[in-house]
Subunit: 340 residues, 2 copies
């Protein structure tokens, strides 16, 4: 596998594709390869792009990739589909638009779908970002369908998060969710040549003013729980970032340079006063907690007789034992006291 | 707290509201109360309702609740908003439509939003279902925004899952996600008086024929990992459930009785040959794994010096240590060998 690392660092595209497949399939030994790659990461700027279906995310990603290429930057694209958790079959419909980008060696596109669990996809996406980073891509665009958990995962891996809206996607109160706004570093109204764009812009602006984006800051407490920090009063943060609202017509390349500029401005903003380090520390804390959680559970089940577990399930179903009690008893078998 | 249990079982609505608040806020002692309630659960039929914004979920929930009341069944409604993960502020816009239901003692409505984590919301929803179940509600409707993880959570708590679609919500390939179809026991095309309903019905039908709903069956392996079981060939399952597609205009009460009948047919289907027990075992397995995972992590961090964790984070950020290596070292401190 270490040969693969050298090939990857040398720019070998087949080694890159193979490693991404290994990451996606959680192939044996891939963790060792990723650990060997890790010192070569940390150079790329990772841009998360999310929004509801129909907002034109893929068109915008394509336009952004072209804009970065014009500026001489290499671009890795991960199109993540978390909405198909059970079969792992990504719907590639709108990926077809990205065909424009084919043939450029400095662009690499990869679709990723869930295999088994959303947690698995989140981990695979983080690892795939690192692989593209080590392979030397300077901008990594991670596109995902706007849907609860998937945006949170983007926030946990991206430096700059773009939230895409479009006019006329039904009920504003439903379409523009406060939770989505709170993760946005840059807001884009795509399809801005459509009727209703002023209305969408006003709705976004007033929701931004109502919102408290600073509440997105998270950290991990000494119990390993992820906790949102107290929302600081906005006027106490001198270098507070207010997400700009940018109008685009991605398929006609309108407004795309403004988006690129906003991303670069956000990058400059974060570069001040150790903010990137703070952001990366949060990402790392969350990653460590996720990894520890998985290993601890695996270790627990490794020594637990399957029949002990099956018996607990049967008792809970029969309502002769509450789940809370069963868990306490299972943990006590391993010397873990839940009360402490 | 045990007084609360008696009041709840006696039908006291204020005790019910208080307990739901305690569940949502993870108040101290609530686990003891839930354990005491647990023997009184298992009587309600839990119906999950999901779909994209704009499909008219809340109107359908309201219409279903009225239909059940006409049939003499009591109804608990949980409106879950998982899309606002950071502030916990539920957008109550379309809940207003449910005002029609106010004043009926045999209907209880509760909105729930995320506080801190999606995992927390999932647990709170499961607990709230049990509280409503113990309080004697015969049908529990759990409504959530159609969005990746939130549907999965519904499947893990519901007996029957309804997926709501509507004509004209943009690109079909994007709006009708394979993953959403796979969790559906009953498909509803609401707003069926709109143009495009035939197109939506055809699209759903062909996606159903392509899909393998049997793949939704999940179980937990002996490592505590959730694994989808192998997809069985459809023709080998004599009692295979093919989700019906039902057209409704919920605000005019059209098609609502058909939906109620489909839910009851699904219930009868599951009652055959131990299928309910199988479903409940899956739900319980998943719940136990989630609870164990949380306790194990908490126990791990309880004894870990915070500076040890902080040092690992700093080394990872500096790229002097890979996350994989740091995790192995942290686990080794507690005698956990990741290799086994």
């Amino acid at each position: 596998m270490l040969d693969q690392v050298h090939l990857l660092l040398d720019g070998d595209r087949r080694a890159l594709a193979r490693l991404l497949t290994a990451v996606e399939n959680e192939r044996e030994g891939v963790e060792t390869t990723l650990a060997a790659l890790y010192p070569h990461t940390g150079r790329a700027w990772v841009i998360g792009i999310t929004g509801a279906p129909g907002t034109g995310k893929s068109s915008l990603v394509t336009a952004l990739a072209k804009a970065y290429r014009t500026r001489g930057e290499s671009v890795g694209i991960l199109a993540v589909d978390p909405t198909s958790p059970f079969t792992g079959g990504a719907i590639l419909g709108d990926r077809i638009r990205m065909r424009d980008l084919a043939g450029d060696k400095n662009i690499f596109i990869r679709s990723m779908a869930t295999r088994g669990s959303l947690g698995g996809l989140s981990r695979a996406t983080r690892d795939a970002i690192r692989v593209l980073d080590a392979a030397g891509f300077q901008r990594i665009l991670v596109e995902t369908v706007g849907a609860g958990q998937s945006e949170i995962d983007i926030v946990r891996a991206a430096h700059t998060t773009l939230v895409i809206e479009a006019p006329g996607l039904g009920d504003d109160v439903q379409a523009i969710k406060a939770g989505i706004l709170e993760i946005a570093d840059v807001l884009v109204i795509n399809k801005a040549d459509r009727p209703g764009v002023e209305h969408t812009a006003r709705a976004l602006k007033s929701m931004l003013e109502l919102g408290h984006p600073a509440s997105r800051v998270q950290s991990v407490n000494h119990h390993g729980q992820m906790i949102p920090t107290a929302t600081p009063a906005i006027n106490k943060i001198p270098d507070f970032w207010l997400p700009p609202i940018i109008r685009t017509v991605a398929i006609e390349n309108q407004g795309v340079d403004e988006v690129v500029n906003a991303i670069e401005t956000h990058r400059t903003h974060l570069s001040q006063a150790g903010k990137i380090e703070e952001l990366e520390d949060q990402h790392i804390q969350i990653e460590l907690v996720e990894r520890l959680r998985e290993h601890l559970l695996r270790d627990f089940f490794h020594d637990l007789p399957p029949e002990t577990f099956a018996q607990a399930v049967a008792q809970i179903r029969a309502r002769t034992k509450a789940p809370q009690t069963a868990v306490q008893e299972l943990l006590a078998l391993r010397g873990v006291n839940v009360a402490k």
